[in-house]
């Protein structure tokens, strides 16, 4: 209406418009009348329902839980709904995954984390017609409290995790109502790639998933991924603690960049500026010099590299190890590989359900490994690549495609997805890497690979202040900037080595996923700062 008034420039137009407007007004009035009539009817209906609904206390929207009362009510977990509980009357709290009304019945799928069960509200002596209607109108993803009888079913319910029982609902209360329109459908988000296209159904692309991460994290796949990730952390801690390691916490706000200045985030720090730690490298080494012997650290690590690839994040969780050894840095390699093997074994033995859940959406071969871990030398790797027809120099660094090819060759010969590559050329490693005593072209450094992608880069560090200065000068590093670092080795430093692993990468490669953002709960990359 207002629009027309504004637009009315000339008389004629105004007249014509007013005619139109009149018509419109009339129409609207009719509509309003109809609406009022409908509302009245609805109200009447509601009234009548309220009047003759014998089950009106058995359902409804609960008042907001403000901790008014402390009910002595045991809520059963969905995963515990097995045939042993048949014919029991139980309470449970779950989300409404889907609801489907069919005449006098309404089927609900109630979901709790990665488990779900079928529930049935049917008109009978327990539930009224209105209750069924109410159940059918509960929005998806709402949280409900349900009292129901567990009943065995004759035919397995294929679509649910609890296939042998269903719930016959006696009471249902909405605890938290979801908005009717969801930004993405959970079923679409877990559909395997390609399957949606065939059936003409929607799949959700990664950015939409990440934009609505809270909902995406509810999917069975996400639930499984992050349960497994928690397992990796747990196994990492347990294994190292058993080996006599000490967990340390290091500062993340640091005064100087530890590895090259280019890829650090600068933050303002009162009147000066500071950096976000790229790795706890320096602090791990200082702990070794301070007689902690074997340390590890689980914490965030920041990289200001502007690379938008499937395996780079700007903030990730680093699992870092540093240890003093007696005579040979292979003691360190052995310690790290044993830890990794313990993690793989723990996942294989305790997280089979999670692995299979992820595999349903993202199929991949099971992760294979050898115990003890296979260790190859750089020269062997170069020979293998030469044999496969790759032209590369003996002291050249491995390019990413060559890394992948090498991974395939190693898999073919040894059938392992995890191996160590030892004795890298000195020229391609950082200045604090210890040179090889027998051949100065090589170094006491190593990389570890999972499914052909690097997950760990480590080495024996130079623990001699003088050699460290020489190496730094060779790399043309400003000695003033690393003075504090070099000085920590002047007062007696044990020989030591270590390495750091990215938690997200380990999970991604273990599960055979294709993007590190899938294993980061709230990923940070050059283009994403929210949620």
């Amino acid at each position: 209406m207002t629009k027309e008034e504004v637009q009315g420039a000339t008389e004629e137009e105004q007249q014509a418009q007013s005619k139109k407007a009149q018509k419109k007004q009339q129409k609207e009035a009719e509509k309003a009348a109809k609406k009022a009539e409908k509302q009245a009817k609805l109200a009447a209906e509601q009234q009548t329902t309220e009047e003759d609904d014998f089950a009106k206390d058995q359902y409804g929207v609960s008042p907001m839980v403000q901790s008014q009362q402390k009910l002595d009510r045991a809520l059963v977990r969905v995963q515990d709904l097995t045939p042993e509980r048949a014919d029991q009357l139980i309470w449970l709290r779950a989300r409404v995954h889907t609801s489907r009304a069919k005449g006098k019945q309404c089927f609900l799928v109630l979901r709790q984390q990665q488990f779900n069960v079928q529930a049935l509200v049917a008109v009978g002596d327990r539930a009224s017609k209105q209750m069924v209607k109410f159940a059918a109108n509960i929005t998806k993803e709402s949280i409900v409290d349900v009292e129901a009888a567990v009943r065995k079913v004759e035919q397995k319910i294929e679509s649910c995790t609890q296939q042998d029982v269903e719930l016959h609902v006696e009471r249902i209360f909405v605890i938290s109502q979801a908005e009717p329109r969801l930004p993405l459908q959970l079923d679409d988000a877990v559909r395997p790639d390609g399957e949606g296209e065939e059936e003409g159904r929607a799949t959700v692309n990664q950015d939409t998933k990440l934009d609505n991460r809270v909902i995406d994290l509810r999917t069975t796949t996400s639930q499984a991924i992050f349960r497994l990730q928690s397992g990796v952390c747990q196994l990492f801690r347990d294994t190292l603690t058993n080996k006599g390691f000490v967990e340390i916490q290091t500062p993340k706000i640091i005064s100087a960049a530890s590895e090259g200045g280019a890829n650090v985030f600068t933050v303002s720090y009162f009147k000066t500026s500071a950096y976000l730690a790229q790795s706890p490298q320096l602090y791990k080494q200082m702990c070794i010099c301070a007689d902690f012997d074997k340390v590890f650290c689980v914490g965030p690590v920041f990289r200001a590299e502007d690379s938008n690839t499937h395996r780079h994040l700007t903030e990730f969780v680093g699992l870092d190890i540093e240890m003093a050894f007696n005579y040979h840095y292979h003691e360190v390699i052995d310690s790290i590989t044993e830890t990794m093997v313990q993690i793989f074994k723990g996942l294989r033995d305790n997280f089979q359900t999670e692995i299979q859940t992820v595999n349903k959406q993202f199929p991949s071969e099971p992760f294979k490994f050898l115990e003890p871990t296979l260790r190859l030398e750089y020269t062997e790797a170069v020979a293998m690549l030469h044999e496969a027809g790759v032209e590369m120099g003996d002291e050249e660094d491995l390019s990413t495609p060559n890394e992948k090819l090498l991974g395939r060759l190693v898999k073919e010969k040894y059938d392992t997805d995890f191996y160590v590559l030892d004795k890298y050329p000195l020229a391609v490693r950082p200045f604090y890497t210890m040179p090889d005593p027998n051949n100065p072209k090589y170094s006491n450094s190593y990389d570890m690979f999972m499914r052909g992608e690097e997950i760990l880069s480590g080495a024996q560090r130079v623990h001699d202040a003088q050699l460290l200065t020489e190496r730094a000068m060779h790399h043309q590093i400003d000695l003033e900037k690393i003075k504090a670092y070099v000085d920590s080795f002047r007062y007696g430093a044990p020989p030591h080595g270590g390495g750091g692993i990215g938690l997200e990468r380990v999970c991604m490669l273990y599960l055979g996923l294709h993007n590190v953002r899938q294993t980061s709960m709230f990923p940070r990359d050059p283009k994403r700062l929210t949620p």
């Binding site: 793989f344 074994k345 050898l370 062997e380 020979a383 044999e387 496969a388 060759l409 010969k413 040894y414």
Partner: protein
């Protein structure tokens, strides 16, 4: 065929005739193929015609050890400046005794880096299988110091498998075939093709009849062994060969050593006196 000239030829008979002609034609083809093969067998193979002594008694090993590297280059082709690693996937349910014996022979001849791994497809492996290649070499931290790698992986495989040069060779299946390959790194087969065939034949007998056969078959093989050993000190000719290694290991594994006939008993003793069989015996315990 005068019988059928009256126009009474039965179509079934005609079909039979056609089939017979076809079979005869195939037989001729087969004959030609066999003759062709026989020609290649009678021509001495250049690879086998080495002048190195074919004797495998332990004394000759010390003298042969010096020629190690050049031998490997001629046997395995160009050296790429890296370890030549032989990977063997074996099922822990059937430890490959023959290969353990051949491994200890290889160690006497070359600098061998031996490693044992457990693949993630098997849950646990008895400790004697983990140490079946002997203690770790003191230089094992430097792989490039070795001529040959012997990597034994305990894995859930239906058949023993060897992987060597993945670019040029398909994986080799079966313990017998891997044994033949490893043995050729130690000594050439007898240059006489009939003797070489006999070695192969005994190896087959050992693995198909002694190791997998019924009690009846095993008894028959023991009788055959007994008569062969009545004529010679070793199974094929005057020299110790792969035939002896394979048969000895399979007799030990089948557990019929105690009930074996006299010549076999004597031969088993001689085998043991060579000292190569201790790794196999350690695994059997």
């Amino acid at each position: 065929m005068p019988m059928y000239q009256n126009g009474e030829v039965d179509p079934a008979v005609k079909a039979l005739e056609a089939r017979q002609d076809e079979i005869i034609r195939k037989l001729y083809e087969l004959k030609a193929a066999v003759e062709g093969l026989a020609k290649t067998v009678h021509t001495p193979d250049a690879d086998l015609d080495l002048t190195v002594s074919s004797s495998l008694s332990s004394q000759t090993f010390s003298s042969a050890a010096l020629k190690g590297t050049t031998d490997l280059d001629s046997l395995l082709g160009k050296d790429h400046g890296a370890l030549r690693d032989i990977v063997i996937n074996a099922n822990p349910a059937q430890p490959p005794l023959t290969l353990l014996v051949l491994h200890s022979l290889l160690c006497k001849r070359y600098r061998v880096l031996s490693t044992v791994h457990v693949h993630s497809s098997v849950a646990s492996v008895p400790s004697q299988l983990l140490s079946c290649l002997g203690p770790r070499h003191e230089d094992s931290y430097a792989r490039h110091l070795f001529q040959l790698g012997f990597t034994l992986i305990w894995k859930d495989v239906p058949k023993l498998q060897m992987k060597f040069s993945i670019q040029n060779m398909c994986p080799i299946e079966g313990e017998a075939n891997v044994a033949r390959f490893l043995f050729k790194l130690l000594a050439p087969y007898p240059s006489d093709p009939s003797l070489a065939t006999m070695v192969d034949s005994w190896v087959d007998t050992a693995f198909f009849q002694l190791a997998e056969g019924s009690a009846k078959e095993q008894a028959a093989v023991l009788r055959a062994l007994n008569s062969a050993l009545g004529r010679n000190p070793w199974l094929v000719g005057p020299e110790f060969s792969l035939a002896d290694v394979a048969c000895c290991c399979c007799v030990l594994q089948s557990g019929s050593a105690c009930s074996a006939p006299a010549n076999v008993q004597r031969w088993l003793k001689s085998c043991e006196n060579l000292g190569h069989f201790s790794p196999a015996k350690a695994v059997l315990q």
